[in-house]
Symmetry: C2
Subunit: 358 residues, 2 copies
Amino acid sequence: MNVVGLDVGGANIKVAFIESEQTPPLTIRTVNVFFPLWIKGKKNLKHAVQDAVLKIVKNRKVDVVGVTMTAEVSDVYFTKEEGVNHVLDCVQRIFSSTPIFVLDVEGNLLPVEEARRKPYKVASANWMATGWLVSRFTVNSMVVDVGSTTTDVIPIVNHQVVVRGKTDLERLAYDELIYTGILRTNLSTITNIVPIGKKFVRVSSEFFASTGDVHLVLGNLKKEEYTTETADGRGKSKREAMARIARIVCADLKMLDEKKIKKISRFIYVRQIKQVAEALKNVYNRTHKTPKKELSIVVTGIGKKILAEKAAKEAGFRNIVDIEKLTKLKISENTPAAALTLMVLNRLERGKNLWMQS
Amino acid sequence: MNVVGLDVGGANIKVAFIESEQTPPLTIRTVNVFFPLWIKGKKNLKHAVQDAVLKIVKNRKVDVVGVTMTAEVSDVYFTKEEGVNHVLDCVQRIFSSTPIFVLDVEGNLLPVEEARRKPYKVASANWMATGWLVSRFTVNSMVVDVGSTTTDVIPIVNHQVVVRGKTDLERLAYDELIYTGILRTNLSTITNIVPIGKKFVRVSSEFFASTGDVHLVLGNLKKEEYTTETADGRGKSKREAMARIARIVCADLKMLDEKKIKKISRFIYVRQIKQVAEALKNVYNRTHKTPKKELSIVVTGIGKKILAEKAAKEAGFRNIVDIEKLTKLKISENTPAAALTLMVLNRLERGKNLWMQS
């Protein structure tokens, strides 16, 4: 059976594709396309999703499609309901004669018509696919998925996803969604002050620089890994990134040298680590009985090394597990889409569980 | 003598025009044009400035032009030097046969060629015009100018502007520039959490809503006073503003009612007041010997009532003076441009000081 998993975000479209009858070891093909919906416009969404699908599916047949999304949060939609319906419209137009299942926040796979009746249940449910996958592999754990824009924290106890929040609003309230990521986050939302010399200086509240700039300057990211837009539309050289960072204190490269900009960058990086670490501690304290040093912290996402792992260590955890080692699947950069293909497969080929033997 | 004062910002172009030989009482005509440079592009700046000038000057003659700017901070320019030169290019092309003076951060009026040699001296000097004007009217005071985007704090002692910082970077370091305003400020730069029910909820780090939305919802602003762009490009009805505010916690109007959104708005408003109040206290403590309850706090800018005055009271000041009462001039919404016309006049017609007798 050939399954497509779609994770349609407001900034990135992620697609995974699995052919369950292929010769082991099982592999999942994935692709990410940067598609800033608020810039490109909703009228272009269908085409962009279709292009992304074609990139990995090519001319192979597709038996079933799983869909999840976060694009409905985007302000191109007035309500989430409008967003959910539009994403589903796009997917139905692309796969007009293929069965489609929509993930909800309880972990159910709903037919499209049911999903349309429960837009608030299928909105931003993508973390549930990740949680489900990791819950198959670990008894007690906590997943930390750090993406370009946001970080998901998903506690698992006795092979069950035991989140306190289901909607984004609830997850923000319960430290299970931290709106910080390693590429797109506006630096001015991370801190109000930065150190320059011996002073702390207030920062601008414009969108002058993003976390991608900080991680590029610190060597945490290569230029090619900085896949999203820059704040000023300029390039991704270190010099351009430093100029953007200088601008957050209304300065430029003639006023601040590399040493000063690196100091600002390290300060922001530490703040970001602490922000995620604090959330991890809160979720852990509320949820887990396993001692901190034993509990598996399963890290994934493009920020798994530079932010998820660092935050877990900052929070006192010691048993950090890479999701790719855990699952033997290359799925870090598209975990929800990939997990969704497995969820669909598991539902339709229950008992076979081919993918868990690989 | 007819003087044009130009204050070319990155989001607003402000023009003032004075005819010193007109029949008293002296009036200054002013106009503000919302011109988001990073959206409209630098190639359109000259035309926009010209249009704004024509709106108030009409077919009257112009004898001299004073220029100040903050547009050079915009990220359409790679360095401030590039920005300063481009703004001066535009002004010179508009006024090709009129004397032009450029304000610097020391309060000097420089010929254009000298200004081009000292770009870091003329960058973001507009607060100096305001400080100079108020220093003519008060012995000891502190000016608080709250605009759409930023807030200037300018201490005056013995009729002298006694700021600690001159460049924006220094002013940010010394609490004399607070990058918060009543229209354009991204709410996620003001707070990381907002109250909903009895919980505090983390906020998104996108640019989903701005202070204009908060002040509109709270009744601090009328729709017509919300002159800048909205975060989502939608309109300025209360309902649209509430939807934007709901989105900062990834919610919509079906999830949060008006009561909840007003609670969030009040929380952010209080944060903003405290942010400015803290800066006022710091500048006061460093600078003034006049007792807090006596020192004149001169408020101006579109946010003079809703933010400057509130912050001054929050900081313990009691002697709040509206700049329009102090100067008998209607200049709140364009103080630096208006003050600059008077500065130029004072320099060229020294001794006459017509405008101070009015």
